[in-house]
């Protein structure tokens, strides 16, 4: 899926940077972000909500989470 941003294994600030670069392109109103640390999860959600996006966890495995970002 082209709307998926895979940030697994990347250190700060890459997860937030990649997510912001993707949403600022403005082509989609929905993204999935894959994260594999709690820090990346919190940072992505914090940054996305501050830009007016809605964030929810759609899948959470032992070490990974998938965050769904939606623009109103």
């Amino acid at each position: 899926m082209s709307n998926t941003i895979d940030t697994r294994g990347l250190s700060c600030p890459q997860p937030v940077l990649l997510m912001l670069q993707a949403i600022e392109k403005g082509q989609n109103n929905e993204f999935l972000v894959l994260v594999d640390t709690e820090t990346a999860k919190e940072n992505v959600i914090r940054a996305a909500t501050s830009k007016g996006w809605q964030a929810s966890i759609v899948e959470s495995k032992e070490n990974e989470s998938t965050i769904l970002l939606k623009k109103e």
């Binding site: 697994r8 294994g9 990347l10 250190s11 700060c12 600030p13 890459q14 937030v16 940077l17 912001l20 594999d36 640390t37 709690e38 820090t39 919190e42 940072n43 914090r46 940054a47 501050s50 929810s56 966890i57 070490n63």
Partner: protein, 361 residues
């Protein structure tokens, strides 16, 4: 969604304030002036305790650093955030650790100590913090142009244990070779008899404070470099509010304890060669930014299983040995004989890393 209170705005401010109060108290209990906690200085002291360098005034196995890693380790285990991972260009992180330490020892402090020096009235810290900001700003330019050290990989549980085990080993060494008053060596460990290395709070208090801060910082993701980076790169003030809280809390605590002495000259464990205070922290800031965390954060990451952060820490300890063996570290008299050259070489190396390790989109 599980709520992590410490990662909220209130949480990060609280953690910054707690560190800001505890550091001057550690100073009151014996740690060096304006150095209640300094990750760079304390790792340098540990390098000295192990005999990696023989600067007699800076040798002490600092329990705070051991506590940071073990506290973060326990916290990560407890909250199921222990994630063994490694393999994101470890050799580059080692080199960044070396030059981060060299830059910090030219200024005489990591970002934590820069804040604590300012909170103690040392005006030179402003110059250092300005340099730190410029170094991190250069780092953000590399991030914007695609700089990336690549992905780490999940790995064996035991890989994540290595750094906590090293720190536990250091603690055992210290307990088995305790300080004997008047003796510069106890078993295999070196102990300073004068200078900053001879100044320390009681072992158990240092260890306890280290453990507490390790837990709090692991859960809150407190990071001084990240504070500046997120402000510059994303206009986000989240981490920065923690740094401001640390500064204000440390200032108030210093005033209460009678440890606030404003001025630029004759500040403790500091020099006033502004150019090199600035340039040293440009180098340190850039190296921290390229490695993804301030020296404290690297310890907490190492505790939660990040082997690459562990390699950065080992790089800093080795960098401290170089800094004192080769005359790179500053002293209250000014910069070392080869400090200026080392900063220039370090900046060239960091620029090489930044320019050459970019993924083209």
């Amino acid at each position: 969604m599980k709520l992590n209170f410490l990662s909220t705005r209130t949480g990060i401010i609280l953690v910054g304030a707690i560190i800001g109060v505890l550091a001057p108290i550690l100073q009151k209990l014996g740690n060096p002036p304006n150095m209640g906690i300094c990750v760079a200085c304390f790792e340098r002291d540990m390098a000295g305790a192990l005999g990696l360098h023989r600067a007699a005034v800076v040798q002490y196995m600092r329990p705070e650093i051991i506590g940071f890693v073990l506290g973060a380790f326990l916290s990560a285990l407890l909250f199921r955030e222990f994630k063994p991972r490694s393999g994101s260009a470890p050799i580059v992180r080692f080199i960044l650790g070396i030059f981060a330490m060299i830059g910090a020892l030219v200024f005489l402090g990591c970002p934590w100590r820069a804040l604590l020096r300012l909170a103690g009235g040392d005006g030179n810290a402003l110059v250092g913090l300005a340099g730190l900001g410029v170094g991190i700003w250069i780092g953000t330019l590399f991030f914007k142009s695609g700089y990336n050290l690549g992905r780490s990989q999940k790995t064996y549980f035991s890989v994540g244990l290595i750094m906590p085990l090293i720190m536990f080993g250091f603690l055992l060494l210290m307990l088995l070779n305790p300080f004997i008053p008047g003796q510069a060596k106890s078993g295999v460990l070196f102990y300073s008899l004068k200078g900053p290395g001879a100044m320390h709070a009681p072992l158990l208090i240092s260890l306890g404070v280290g453990l507490l801060i390790g837990v709090l910082a692991q859960k809150s993701r407190f990071c001084t470099m990240g504070a500046f980076r997120d402000l510059i790169l994303f206009k986000q003030t989240h981490l920065f509010s923690g740094v401001v809280a640390l500064l204000i809390a440390a200032f108030i605590t210093n005033v209460i304890l009678g440890q606030f002495h404003p001025g630029f000259v004759h500040q403790p464990v500091a020099h006033s060669m502004s150019l090199w205070n600035f340039a040293g922290m440009v180098l340190a800031g850039l190296a921290f930014a390229l490695a993804g965390g301030c020296p404290g954060r690297q310890l907490f990451l190492a505790g939660e299983g990040d082997g690459d952060a562990g390699v950065f820490v080992l790089g800093m300890i080795v960098g401290a040995a170089f800094a004192h063996n080769f005359g790179l570290a500053s002293s209250p008299k000014g910069i070392g004989p080869h400090g200026a050259l080392a900063v220039i070489i370090g900046l060239i190396v960091c620029l090489f890393i930044g320019f050459s390790m970019r993924k083209q989109a």
